[in-house]
Symmetry: D2
Subunit: 352 residues, 4 copies
């Protein structure tokens, strides 16, 4: 049985980790870390867990926790883990970090976009970017530190990856228009996240400046073996869960000058994702909808070729708290411990 600790267990992503791990047959949660609710019953913070979780919240003492568990999930603000991590901790336990601290390999890029100094850049190289479908081979029993990808980034990268990898689009034309439910904004008591401010409303935010941009660019850059600079625009939508990305790029033409067919592009997606448990390539003509993946670890993907403009329009949908956070974190844990990748993630989307 894997002993797991969670730092930040009372945020939305932390809560989702609890929901998933409680049904995981090979893991048990032994530490519900929370800065705000120390010594309070976890099930008073999340009443859905009443009679399911009997534990009280612990503090967020990473060093103490490291000695007691096999894996720590840090669902914490940017800079938290970077400020505390050291070799001693990493020699005791594995860490799956849901924050951005170790996602970006170039520390100056991290510091510029996040506006904070990185306190432990020495671990950035070691950290594996935990996008399992792409980096699976690097997530092994020897891996100590996983940088679990962001919600927007998971959706944005997976939706475009095969095309970038195979050089089928002009990456300089890539535009990602992303829409997210409100749980992505976290459980902090902020005016702009109040029900009456979000409900019946819609807006873009962080335009041309959102922190997930360099993460998407870096990973697609690895895929395409090139520099990627793209436009990423997140939007806030009045729903709890779900991210939908709509991506636009100019398709490269074939040698005969024609655009590729749906089937040709689809074959590329099948090549990369055909055997992936958590990526569903929808049938031609079916657009992904966030509701179809809610509560599950799936990413639903499809595309339309627009012959009038020569563009391909890509669409991807996932649950930001599952595949975009806690589900992917557990998927990484499974790989780290040599379990079946889908263990505990057999979550059927809930509709309606």
């Amino acid at each position: 049985m894997i002993r797991a600790g969670i730092i930040g267990a009372t945020g939305y992503a932390g809560g989702e980790l609890v929901r998933i791990l409680k049904n995981h047959k090979d893991a048990e949660i032994v530490w519900y870390g929370s800065k705000s609710y120390i010594d309070q019953k976890y099930s008073r913070v999340y009443q859905n867990m009443f009679q399911i979780v009997e534990d009280v919240c612990s503090d967020d003492n990473l060093a103490a926790l490291a000695k007691q568990v096999d894996v720590i999930f840090t669902a914490t603000p940017q800079g938290f883990l970077a400020g505390l991590l050291n070799e001693e901790i990493l020699s005791c336990t594995k860490i799956v970090d849901l924050s951005a601290d170790y996602r970006i390999k170039d520390v100056s890029v991290y510091e510029k976009w996040y506006g904070i100094e990185h306190k432990s850049p020495q671990f950035i190289r070691e950290a594996v970017y935990g996008l399992c479908e792409i980096n699976r081979s690097r997530i092994t029993a020897d891996t100590r530190l996983i940088a679990n990808p962001g919600c927007y980034t998971t959706c944005s990268i997976l939706t475009a990856y095969p095309l970038v990898k195979e050089g089928l689009i002009d990456v300089n034309t890539l535009i990602v228009d992303a829409k997210s439910g409100t749980s992505g904004a976290g459980r902090g008591a902020k005016l702009q996240n109040l029900f009456c401010e979000v409900n019946e409303n819609m807006k873009a935010y962080g335009v041309a400046s959102h922190r997930h941009t360099p993460e998407i660019e870096e990973q697609l850059g690895y895929a395409g073996n090139c520099q990627v600079t793209l436009s990423f625009t997140p939007h806030l939508v009045p729903m709890n869960r779900g991210i939908l990305v709509t991506e636009y790029a100019s398709l490269k033409r074939r040698a005969d000058g024609a655009l590729p067919s749906y089937g040709e592009i689809r074959a590329i997606y099948d090549k990369y994702y055909g055997r992936e448990r958590f990526i569903r390539l929808l049938e031609e003509g079916v657009c992904p909808e966030t509701k179809w993946v809610e509560g599950s670890n799936y990413v639903d993907i499809n595309f339309v070729i627009d012959r009038r403009t020569g563009r391909i329009i890509l669409m991807g949908a996932l649950d930001n708290l599952v595949k975009g956070a806690a589900g992917q974190a557990v998927q990484n844990m499974n790989l780290l411990f040599g379990l079946s990748e889908e263990e505990g993630l057999d979550l059927i989307p809930c509709f309606p």
Copy 2:
């Protein structure tokens, strides 16, 4: 492995049955009956089931189905099952009926409230009202026909049952004010259920005339061994899932003229529900919220004693598609086949 067929698999309750049974280790669905989608892939009707359910929809031929399966779930309109049921079918298979056809023992009451003639009243006596927490002992391997309770009724009855059973309230004062999400209205394409009609709106409906009224009265009447006539008012609320009932009744006073304490009443609830897996009696002061049970088979219950008025205010919350329909149906199936009652129902509520 229990072979199960579903008639009405493409309604919301039918869809929830599929979601639950797909994760049930002792049952498999062999028939997805649907009047509207015959020969279409089930996962095209409910895209969340893409790559999870590969079957196509069958027709709703009950007689043909009966010969192939161990149990049939009928998630069908009132009158459907009553119009088709016969001894031959019941000799082949068990039936869990999610409609109201066999819930009410007095056929004249059924016909009055539902406005249709009952075509097979001879089976009403045999049918067991499948409210497991109350009628568990009667749901056995010998039972052939289960009348699965309605969503409002399950919540209304369970919330008040211990008080009525023990004679602690004046049943003539009982009032049930119920609020429901919109999935209870079904998947029919009706104007009043359009998004723009329901969203940002709230209303009572079926005032003093809703069909679940006699069902609640009958069952509470059995509990109290008396005639129960109550007011039941359902309301439509802009959310997908969830029923909340608020019930009012005058508390009987103790011999010394005082009202009972919270603890005294709580002890009664503990007596009946203390060991129930799916009923959660919340801590004093905590009001049930529908979100805390969403996606699960739980009913959350609590109460407040209003010393100013001498009333007790009861509150109960459940997910109308789970404990109010499909979850309870599976709970009944488990009992019918001698399985653990909670098999396949280990569903943790999803938040947010």
Copy 3:
């Protein structure tokens, strides 16, 4: 032109006052008081007012404001006005107080339910409870202080008033089950009002202890010339605006032992409300819906007689920010200054 000042202009009720007064031909707002946004442009706080309101927010200095305006609206927390009000202020200006400070005539009741000491009880007697349809004759050019009724109370009282006034129900059986949109909770950044906490959720709160209870009891007590003690249960519903009350009471029987007919009761409602501009008595069989009054100053009322139980079920719907707050405040202002009561309130409900 009436010069008006608003203290608390950046709360939801304050914002609605601005919306209404900006279209009022006989009033102008000269002071946008706000504790939190002093010196900031009002239209940066409420971007809907961009290019409509050019003013910046002032502080909430009541004494200074009193000298500059004809009327002050205080949309402030309980205790604020009571702590500042004095004879000098009242000699300069009229005040319409949207808080509860002067609604309850018995100061000990106020202090018990609100848990704070009342700092200026000497003005309680003078204050007129501004439920215009009932107290219209007392709201005149001589009135200096209006206690503007609460949102739940306006709806609860108006819905039951004719029956209590005429002694047609047993007031001891009166139960008010109220449901409210979330704007009633105000614009404070509280966890329980976050989108993800409220959306897809429903709960009762303040059960048997909500502060609007004594206000309803007092006013209905005046109507019935009797002591009224009732159950009032508010619920939070995932929508921005709207209150729906469902009220239950035992109807008194006629001398012949029969219950009154719909028409007989309706005639009573017509007697009191038939000429009221803002109360709409719906046609028999039509249930009030909050959406039908959204954005307007209407209260929609109807009822059903339940002959089985001998009860009458009353239903009332209003927009909590209009008739439940700002609209009613302007209605009071109109009366105070001898204007047409409906001036500026010709607001057609917006659907969908």
Copy 4:
């Protein structure tokens, strides 16, 4: 007093026309045409109009109506007006058509995208595309037929118009990612518009094939005096009202190779829209939100220059039923009859 008739008065756009015209001091509605509700009271169809509209619904007999009114609004399905319009009708009355029948000048483009034959192409030339801010000079007392722009198109065109007009962007790179509330889908009882299907869900639809595409292209083509081919992707969002467009285009560089500044671009917007009553250019850094314009005739516009990619990201928000339909139709009516353009449109956005 302008006598107005509405064909399609019981759809959502028709209902909004009624709401606006009822507060218009120079117009009265004399005909509430409706195919589905003939002879029924209008206020039973839209209960918000109870005691406001006393009329019953008439049929949708255009020829009969033409003789009785000064202007007809047709809020009808595509092809309806085209199938009935003739010279006689147009000699009697003015028509503001909210359908697409006369928006597209090239009849073959219309027939291809709408998949129906155009029955009266002879009137296409005469029809003026009623985007008042751009075509104001052509909407005069002599104009007989207005093609009222679509909701998506109004928002998409106005947001980009100054840049296209002045040649500041490479129009071949223009991408419009649009998000709409659900009222745009109309009041038809369709499964995909049910509350439970739309709520907590999000999807793209009509990808690379939506009918508003050629309308946007044609109008921007006139602005830029060039052929415009763009990508337009609409999305359905769980809210009642509101359209938000996010548009992407490569900015042309200045002679010195630099991108223009925010101020330079802003000056261009000011040039075209600085005196427009219904277009609000927000302050730098403020993103449009649909809630800020709800219920009003405003379009809120802003933009961000992304120096990393050389793109400009444009954002526009409007209420699809007001500026996107009924409000704009009334704005056109005002121009047709020489009234102040804003008459009856002094609608303050409602928040929250």
